[in-house]
Point group: C2
Chain length 357, copies 2
Amino acid sequence: MSIHAVILCGGRGERFWPKSRRNRPKQFIPLYGSRTLIQETSRRIAPLCPVKRQLFVTPVELVPLLRRQVKVPRRNILGEPCGRNTAPAIGLAALTLVRRDPEAVMVVLPADHLITKRPEFLKAVRLAAQLAQENLLVTFGIVPSRPDTNYGYVHYGARIAGSRRLTAHSVVGFREKPDSATAQRYLAEGTYLWNSGMFVWRAATILKALHQFLPEFYLALMRFGKAIGTEREQRALAQLYRRAPVISIDYAVMEKAENIAVVRATFDWDDVGSWLALARHRPMDAAGNVTTGCWFGRETRNCIIDADSGIVATLGVSDLVIVRAGAAVLVAHKTALDGIKRLLEDIASHKAARRLL
Amino acid sequence: MSIHAVILCGGRGERFWPKSRRNRPKQFIPLYGSRTLIQETSRRIAPLCPVKRQLFVTPVELVPLLRRQVKVPRRNILGEPCGRNTAPAIGLAALTLVRRDPEAVMVVLPADHLITKRPEFLKAVRLAAQLAQENLLVTFGIVPSRPDTNYGYVHYGARIAGSRRLTAHSVVGFREKPDSATAQRYLAEGTYLWNSGMFVWRAATILKALHQFLPEFYLALMRFGKAIGTEREQRALAQLYRRAPVISIDYAVMEKAENIAVVRATFDWDDVGSWLALARHRPMDAAGNVTTGCWFGRETRNCIIDADSGIVATLGVSDLVIVRAGAAVLVAHKTALDGIKRLLEDIASHKAARRLL
């Protein structure tokens, strides 16, 4: 077998506006350290899948930006005409891989995750790849460190493979984002893991599953396959996506399939879903402030401040997120960050401001 | 007699940083409306003192900026080598005027005041100019609208001139900035006025007062007078200022002189000392926000927002002052604005950031 990485570079990263913009979403910016999240993801899997066996799925308009960030041949990039969540992206990648290598095992990695323990990560992927050989759909579960209500959970059962430290398990079931009490219980029971959105399977296995659970899309995908390499390819791709369902692979396949397994991750993981999450990975001063760029403050506590250039000065404020990026400034209370999507709708409806999205 | 305006354009306007900068202090920016405060002050007094009888006292490095804002001959601008508060500036202006016109009456106007009722203002200046003919030092007192602790007060006595509506009075005494209880009492008693910092007197009268109350500076001023028009003039001016006391005309003269009077102003007045003061003169939305520039907000209340370009977006915040100006952003709680001076000291000690002061 040979293992291929499929790096999913979709997602708009609205929660990181204005640092993240439509033409430069979160995964394309160096949110943590000097490399972008995409570059980090590519480097992390490279010992198992060198860049020539990495396939990137990205919005078609961002292909040029991606090529400036990662040195890959154009054939290793699949440009999506529009966003359709993960199931269509993974289907397209599986079809592409299976045509190049019928035995391909694919490691699906969202480009915006933060993992620092690379050796542990690679060991877990190797274990998952072994299970994938047995036609299992393997997901990675993260041991919860807090009763987080923003993640889906995987209820796991008996050990089916692995050593004492690194284990793979059967799956009792997938659970939607829980309420607070349920999340507490999951944490206490110790048999629930965060559903990470990373998967390993044979390309052929996931295509078979799509055939079973998403038959219309599967047939459309096969029709598109006939156009690959012809002059019709781009038009056929646009047609495929126009009609593709907007659905995640979790919902479309994982929650319904029987042949699933979960690897209990021994590595650290964060999907860096918000400024609050990101702040967990940046150094904090004695007053609880997490700052990047040139900042001056007095009587300032528990703030997250990110300045791309110039300076940000604060006086007598606390629990704020302050982001200066290009021509835009965001000042938000930490507890109000969920409002960002509606705020961006307001901005989108304003002709002169829209260019700053 | 002919009446000359002396427009004092000193002051650093630190309280309006970052909109106000060292090289463009508050009085040089359009804080209110489309004209700068200096331009407003010049226009306000113009019906009594056309521009050719307006004398501007300004930091010497700001003379070019001033000349772009007000069309006056160079001889109508006195460039101060350094700031020494109002007594030296007024002494220098009086000397300049008395040499050009021994009978000159001078109207001293700080350039950063906001007055909208121009006819009332001009009537009050005319009344004061009549009193100045009697060798009185005339100040303007503003009827307090609130128990403000940020102003000095003038305790006034019997009416000495004026009509029923517009009156001039003897002065019982000047009072320093009061505590809150005292300010309440002043407001209740009705015989106290805010000391506005605007004055009218004959140039010869104020020079005589400086001779009496600030004799060393007066003698230095006379020595400088001999250098005017010679090649030594600039050097002599530098010498005068190097040794000049840093003292206000109120403290140096008004609180000590006997020949004083106060005109009880019938015009509106604000010295626009802070963002909170400025906000009183800008329109407010239903949520209590006062905004200038491109702003988008949700759950935002009682904020003052000023964006020179780009956009400022806010979420779930209240009682903040947010100013975006050039490369700097300030986010301050309304109650913490007094900390700005110390904050600017922090910035001044940082080599790369200093240029943004």
